[in-house]
Symmetry: C2
Subunit: 586 residues, 2 copies
């Protein structure tokens, strides 16, 4: 069975040695988040997650959720574990204290999220979407809506959903048909059907708050005619406690490849009472506030699964004996191809952790830093890296899951080992909150173009500055500096080519977007590995230094060189390939 040990030492290395996070928290006025507090909080979280949540991963996968007469029963143990989790304050870790949260950095809540998502990613979706619903109401709700919903969502006593998708409206939200008609009392009657609603119905919380995308009467067609509504499962009594059942119900649940512990509902809104959140016809903007954070969250789900795959594969490879390796080693970790897989997993997971944490740190800086220029630069970083966090970390989860199965050999295909579950659970991460193809389009069509290309320009400046620091730490890291320098050059050329391509042919950027995103992520991880190798050389722990150095060298010589090839591929015109009428593909 897959087991999970929170990688606390590695987490601390990234937060403290690589990102110097507590100093940045301090600058941003998050002075409570001292090193002592941070480490203590993570220790506590790790205990609960390892002991109470991780053991439900395999059982939840085997049992799945049960649907009967409109009610959903989560797998055995989920309700109790969720109660422990929210009551201990983990859901509200970074929510504002005046809404019932604990006011710690967002970064910290993401580290906890990584751990929960390693332990049991299906479980993690119950509190995960709750945060998204909280953020959406916090950003655009009325004072009354905030007073009614936020404290219960902040703590996680109630859970939340995001109701966007309809059968005909997946990636294309312009096609949403659900209607909201004014009731005359300030509320609206919602009619329509939504699909793929995570946690739409379950037995974990006293109320479920749906955040719903729908169309007001006489709204413009398409994307500009959408509004957002809050629709509680139980209407609130005047004292704010759950009362009468609202006319929204779960009509069926999906049978999925994985994520069996998380329920995915088809919801019917049959005159359900809801209240407009934000301005009419501003629904897409309201959704995007939350959606950007949701995309980072999904990236952390991916990171969690990367870690789970990596640590289990390493444990297995240190235990399993099959033949003698060339170096005389007797465990399969000494066979060179297994070593290659383990170093791939390790370098992607550890380098990906820096990517995720740094984006989260910049969310904190963008929200709280007193200096507007720092806030702006931080927001640029968040905007640029969000599609990388979402797409690269989730693609990696699936790839590393598959690689972990490969390390286990035939045993990996057997369900009781719990490794194939990683492959099944993580595939959805590349699909929801915008497919990874859509992330790549967001990167090339929006993020490269914003403010005249300021976002990638700032990124390249940071990497160049790091490279220019040279061997200041006394460690000769030329083995990574050289390939990173040339990969950055290739990436800059591809970036420019894409920025210019919009004047020529939008399909060029569309065709190359996924390859470009991957190249960008590889360069980002190269930058991260350079900083990790330098930080480890400074840290004074020879074991850490050696492990980081070898992993950095692996990444620099085996994975990073793929970036240049991808950048070359990106700079091919798409027109000849789009010429063929689609029907001729058959």
């Amino acid at each position: 069975m897959a087991t999970y040990q929170a990688p606390l030492r590695e987490i601390q290395f990234v937060l403290h040695d690589v990102l110097n996070a507590t100093a940045r928290f301090g600058e941003a006025g998050l002075a409570d988040a001292t090193r002592g507090t941070v480490d203590g909080v993570l220790d506590e979280a790790a205990k609960l997650i390892q002991e109470r949540i991780a053991p439900l991963n395999a059982t939840g996968d085997a049992q799945g959720c049960r649907f009967r007469d409109g009610a959903v029963e989560a797998p055995a143990g989920y309700a109790e574990a969720y109660r422990l989790f929210w009551q201990a304050g983990w859901v509200g870790l970074s929510a504002a204290p005046d809404h019932g949260g604990q006011g710690l950095p967002y970064t910290l809540s993401k580290v906890v999220e990584e751990m929960v998502c390693s332990a049991n990613v299906g479980f993690a979706l119950y509190p995960g979407l709750t945060s998204s619903c909280f953020e959406a109401i916090e950003a655009n709700g009325t004072e009354e809506q905030k007073r009614l919903y936020l404290p219960k969502l902040a703590t996680g006593e109630w859970t939340g959903t995001m109701c966007m998708t309809e059968p005909q409206a997946g990636s294309d939200l312009a096609a949403v048909k659900t209607r909201a008609t004014p009731n005359g009392d300030g509320s609206y009657a919602l009619e329509g059907g939504k699909i793929f609603i995570t946690s739409g119905e379950h037995d974990l919380a006293g109320n479920i708050i749906h955040f719903v995308l729908a169309r007001l009467p006489d709204s413009p067609v398409g994307i500009k005619g959408l509004s957002t509504f809050v629709v509680p499962k139980f209407l609130l009594k005047p004292d704010g406690t759950p009362g009468e059942r609202n006319r929204v119900r779960c009509v069926s649940i999906e049978h999925k490849m994985g994520m069996h512990g998380s329920v995915t509902c088809s919801m019917a809104f049959e005159g359900a009472r809801g209240w407009l959140v934000g301005q009419p016809n501003q629904g897409i903007q309201n959704m995007f506030v939350m959606m950007n954070l949701a995309r980072i969250m999904v990236g952390f789900q991916g990171l969690g699964q990367c870690e789970l795959a990596t640590q289990n594969a390493i444990r297995y490879a240190l235990d399993r004996r099959q033949g003698k390796a060339f170096n005389g080693g007797e465990v399969i970790a000494d066979h060179p191809d297994v070593r290659r897989m383990l170093l791939t997993m390790k370098s992607v997971t550890e380098g990906g952790r820096v990517l995720g944490y740094e984006t989260a740190l910049h969310v904190d800086l963008a929200a709280h830093h007193p200096d507007a220029a720092v806030r702006e630069a931080a927001q640029d970083w968040v905007d640029l890296t969000t599609p990388l966090v979402k797409a690269f970390l989730t693609d990696s989860a699936f790839e590393l899951g598959s690689m972990a199965v490969q390390v286990y050999g035939g045993h990996g295909f057997i369900r009781e080992h719990g490794i194939e579950q990683i492959v099944r659970d993580s595939k959805i991460l590349a699909l929801y909150e915008g497919t990874n193809g859509i992330q790549a389009m967001d990167l090339v069509r929006r993020k490269l173009m914003l403010h005249n290309g300021r976002l990638p320009k700032r990124f390249f400046e940071r990497v160049q500055a790091e490279l220019a620091r040279g061997g200041a730490d006394g460690a000769d890291l030329g083995f990574i500096e050289r390939p990173l320098r040339s990969a950055v050059q290739e990436l800059a050329a591809a970036t420019q080519w894409l920025q210019e391509s919009f004047k020529r042919e939008a399909n060029d950027a569309g065709f190359g977007a996924v390859d470009y995103l991957r190249a960008f992520a590889l360069v980002m991880l190269g930058y991260n590995w350079l900083r990790m190798a330098r930080a480890a050389a400074r840290a004074g722990d020879p074991a850490l230094r050696d492990a980081k150095r070898v992993t950095a060298e692996f990444f620099a010589t085996r994975l990073l060189p793929q970036a240049a090839a991808l950048c070359g591929i990106v700079r091919n015109p798409a027109a000849p390939l789009m010429q063929l009428p689609a029907t001729r593909l058959q």
Copy 2:
């Protein structure tokens, strides 16, 4: 639900226009296999497979196999479909007529295998392992063994198994412990436990013939002390019909990620009567006769799943509407990133089909051609390409399955669409019959080194000869000739580097093997696409010509360039990366 239409036109294009297969059959004395016969046979096979076997793919996945009191029940409909399949002669298509087969080319049986593996890869394993068992007994059995077992295995009236793996002996067969003790009457008593036995027990056939790797008393330890035995489920009566139950039984079946229609058994041999096949202590050699063909078979399982993923993704993308594409198209196949995925799938599947069929064709030539030099060259081709067929086509099945899910978006994650099943079913293909890492080691350690490097040398000569033909067909194919020329150069350099690496450091080749195999496969597919583009230009069908040209250009500009990057990566020494003691990976 995933559906399957046999791609007969494409199959015929590859056989007739690209490989000129019937002429080669004729040269090799397989004169019955005329174009008319070949096309007629494939038409017939396609009908049965589409109508009777494909519909059981989803239901078999949902039901799985049932185990009770030592008996296994295959999913509903399997027994009946299998009876139709073997009685129509499809199992024995290429077996020798004097053993009950139909004597048609092996190539043809592989084309049928591809189709069955698209329709229902779990079902395909019942006849698949039967062929392997047949081949093993045909190669090394006594005349009496051949007489007793081959006719029933040839037709598929009885099915066969390969019993190799034990819990401690997966990739390392040297650790096999099952013992065979002489009974004094020419038979042996087998004692031991085997795991992961495909079709070890089921209700599809009147008898099950196990081909078992075991150890004679006083045999040398390790790999040189293994022998092979034939162990029938039912001992044969003097008239050759099944009689008394032998002391071999299924003790449990595995619950797997996928392949639910195929049963995977743990078998107990408790004094089971068996008969030595071949010479004592020659078990590994005997196994390898069959194993090489089994590896090609698994490659065809991969090809079948590639086709299934590709054709379903294309159908869905031509039907599904989400927003308007840049080119004004209204189906998602017109969105550039979806087009990129479809062309990836199409170029890999169609290029991979040429790889598979050409290897199969060379199996026929190596077995039957009257000219010894042709036989030798053909065998070289088979030896070199078997690891490519096995590893590349099965890795591609998993990747294309995942890509098909991506094309379906969130719907791909839902079981009822039948697309995620491709991901789950195909993962095992990369693991069994030697993991794909082991295939890569076979390529670099054995196949590159055999006969002083004659195998890759011959390959490079063939590709160069094809390139030297230039634009003889009047089509300007510089867009693929140029990148292929440079990729071949890089591959040749990597090949030489690996051949020399064994004098230095075996870990170098081991570390780079998987990347090298992938680079080799990309070059092979580049060679195939050049030939396909030329053949299509000759064929006089403008629709075919245009589709092949665009797909070739996609492959040449988007996938083939990765080969050079991989070849560069391969040529990095592994020593610095193997330095870290394995325990420090944690």
